[in-house]
């Protein structure tokens, strides 16, 4: 009787341990079409590409639209027969956790035989997984993460690392024009404590200094903050007449609701994370009129065609600003061009091919801009790539596609 009780208890403990570890691991391959994650390696007519990003957790509102953008691109490539091979996407959820991201990269390298890895939206996890990916001789194409230090010519993995999105310095360099034009007396900044927020603040301070501006006051907050009243009041009481809001969407929404609540009439210009659906959903009227950078030009046919196709496949609410899904889509298209040029070989051959690829018909960027890499510059956006969006009546809408932007 005692043995039965003991064994039952052991089973209970084991079951609980299994449940918890399964839930905590969070790195199970996510279904992403086809035989994703089978670990069988690429067959002669199929080539595997990997994606490591947050499919669950707080950053999933960035990571899931990215995955959908990849899937749509893969679907278009496979349906068109443009390539001699079929592309298969293997997606792994890293929950935006650097440790899990590194573990996911190791397993993707060991088991999935991918020809390249598409990096996710969070800079911290990309910094953690990049040495593992490039250390194994595999190319990484960073799609959405913006930190400047992701592309470092001094790092051992530089030759195999490419950044499709505009980085923070490019982004801030375009945005600074609004602050220069308005001639504010006291510009202040708010950012979260993540790699995104802190690297953003560093870029803001550098670009502002280059333009003869300075940040009068800056405040920080935890990501997923429950209340930002102290931060808002600190900036108001410091006499700020404009704010650079460099936080993720949900926190930016709480910030704007508090600005609205206290009736503070201040100009706010945001970072690119305000393209998140969560900002639109939570901020409500408080987000109206706020300006922030985007990569979508609604006067460009490639962009509007993509938006129509994306919304038909995933719904208009999945990625209402389409910034993250569009960057993901273009990343696969750049990779596909390079794969053709490298005869579907990975490693150094693929890196060399990427260094000569130009995408003139990209979904992202202003009309006339392009995405291209050179051996000396692994950052894709050309000059005049950036657009700006705002929110009107609860919907994202284009504010400007004529603000000059320069490749740093």
């Amino acid at each position: 009787m005692k043995n039965t009780s003991t064994s039952r208890r052991a089973v209970t403990i084991a079951a609980i341990a299994l449940t918890v570890s399964a839930a905590l691991a969070g790195c199970a391959p996510a279904a992403s079409g086809g035989d994703a994650g089978s670990g069988d390696g690429a067959s002669s007519d199929t080539i595997k590409i990997g994606y490591i990003g947050p499919l669950t957790g707080g950053s999933a509102s960035l990571g899931v639209p990215a995955q959908h953008g990849f899937e749509l691109a893969v679907q278009h490539l496979n349906d068109s027969g443009e390539l001699d091979r079929k592309i298969e996407l293997v997606s792994v959820d890293d929950e935006a956790d650097p440790t899990k991201s590194a573990a996911a990269a190791q397993r993707m390298i060991d088991e999935d035989d991918v020809v390249a890895v598409l990096g996710g939206p969070n800079s911290g996890p990309v910094l953690a997984n990049n040495p593992i990916i490039t250390g194994a001789g595999v190319v990484q194409l960073i799609t959405i993460a913006q930190s400047d230090n992701l592309i470092d010519p001094e790092s051992p993995g530089y030759d195999l690392t490419f950044q499709v999105t505009e980085n923070n310095t490019y982004n801030v360099g375009a945005t600074v024009q609004f602050f220069l034009d308005a001639d504010y007396d006291s510009i202040c900044a708010v950012a979260d404590t993540t790699e995104y927020g802190q690297s953003g603040i560093a870029a803001i301070e550098k670009v502002f200094a280059d333009n003869g501006l300075e940040i009068a006051q800056k405040v920080s907050h935890e990501v997923n903050a429950t209340d930002l009243t102290p931060q808002v009041l600190s900036l108001r009481d410091a006499g700020c007449d404009s704010i650079y809001l460099f936080s993720y969407g949900q926190d930016a929404a709480v910030f704007m609701k508090t600005v609205n609540q206290i009736g503070w009439d201040v100009d706010v210009i945001g970072g690119r994370a305000l393209n998140q659906a969560a900002f639109l959903s939570i901020a409500g009227d408080a987000g109206d009129g706020l300006i922030f950078p985007s990569v979508i030009d609604l006067d460009k046919k490639e962009a509007t065609d993509f938006i129509a196709a994306y919304d038909e496949e995933y719904g208009a609410d999945d990625d209402p600003a389409h910034t993250f899904s569009a960057l993901a889509y273009d990343s696969v298209m750049l990779l596909a061009e390079a794969l053709k040029a490298s005869d579907y070989k990975g490693g150094d051959d693929l890196a060399a091919a990427l260094s000569g690829v130009t995408l003139d018909d990209a979904v992202t960027g202003r009309a006339g801009s392009s995405l291209s890499f050179t051996p000396g510059d692994h950052r894709a956006p050309s000059d005049d790539f950036q657009t700006f969006f705002t929110i009107e009546d609860g919907a994202f809408t284009m504010y400007s596609n004529s603000v000059p932007s320069t490749r740093p």
Partner: protein
């Protein structure tokens, strides 16, 4: 002065939510000796259910409140009869049950991500409209709703524990389960009632806070940690002390963030929990709560 009052208003509203979570912790703890680490995810369940019923299904608040309470009852029953009771009947140590509550919370998060979505969603306040202005300070209508409802719930539960036979019996169960059973108290039924009260209070906390910060699968943890700190500071036994402790934590969080530094605010909040845990165990034992 207006800045201080503005911060105080936010601190009281936020702290009232921490207090409700503390209430959820201590009702179950007092009846069973169990610390339920799924409190944060139960709050999330309330917020996400509110989003589903109010924003997706388009129901008004009256129906949404009924729906949220029904969901809370279902969760309480699943928690009690699907997890707690079977484990206790099989003689599982309290530590195993505590770990099971963590697993229960993780399952709730995963279910919310799978069936509702994994971003954060906006939820309309109970009374839409401009903030209420009192002198130089302004208050979101939802903050007023939070404070009024939270304290009304505390008062109702205090009355339940002190003025009703069932509530007094439940206190007896917490003090000495065997003596209560010998006296004819139906212990198992009362523990179920404790679960129902705890889960309803916590889920309603989620419903209250969702219009301020949105509803998302990952929203519960940081609020639950501060609610737990409030419960510990409140001695894990007193209905109103946990609530007061929650408000104190909310006030400290807001005031320190402004007057000290926003960068140190999270450290200060967690330091309070650490100090509370170090200093409070003796007081918790004196409360009479047992496994």
């Amino acid at each position: 002065m207006s800045t201080f009052l503005q911060l105080a208003v936010s601190g009281i509203a936020l702290g009232s939510i921490y207090g409700l979570i503390a209430l959820g912790f201590l009702v179950i703890y007092h009846a069973t000796g169990l610390v339920n680490f799924a409190q944060g995810q139960l709050l999330m369940a309330g917020a996400m259910t509110t989003y589903l019923l109010l924003m997706k299904a388009g129901l008004g608040y009256p129906l949404a409140i009924v729906g949220v309470v029904v969901v809370a009852l279902v969760l309480a029953v699943v928690f009690r009869y699907g997890l707690h009771r079977p484990m206790v009947k099989r003689g599982a140590p309290t530590t195993n049950v505590v770990v099971a509550t963590i697993a229960f919370g993780l399952v709730l998060t995963a279910a919310a991500e799978l069936f509702i979505g994994n971003t954060k969603y906006g939820v309309d306040p109970l009374f839409p409209g401009a903030p209420v202005a009192i002198g130089d300070i302004s208050i979101q209508t939802q903050s007023l709703v939070i404070v009024i409802v939270a304290w009304a719930l505390v008062a109702a539960i205090w009355l339940f524990f002190t003025k009703t036979l069932t509530g007094l019996s439940l206190r007896a169960v917490g003090l000495n389960r065997n003596a209560a059973a010998v006296s004819g108290v139906r212990v198992s039924r009362l523990i179920t009632i404790a679960f129902v009260i705890s889960v309803i209070v916590t889920v309603l906390g989620g419903m209250l806070v969702a219009p301020l910060i949105g509803a998302g699968p990952e929203m519960g943890l940081s609020i639950a940690v501060k609610g737990f700190a409030a419960a510990v500071i409140g001695g894990m036994s007193s209905v109103y002390r946990g609530m007061v402790a929650g408000v104190v934590i909310g006030l400290i969080e807001m005031l320190s963030s402004y007057y000290v530094s926003s960068a140190y605010a999270p450290v200060i909040a967690y330091a309070i929990l650490f100090i509370a845990l170090v200093l409070m165990p003796a007081r918790v034992r004196q409360s009479g709560a047992t496994a």
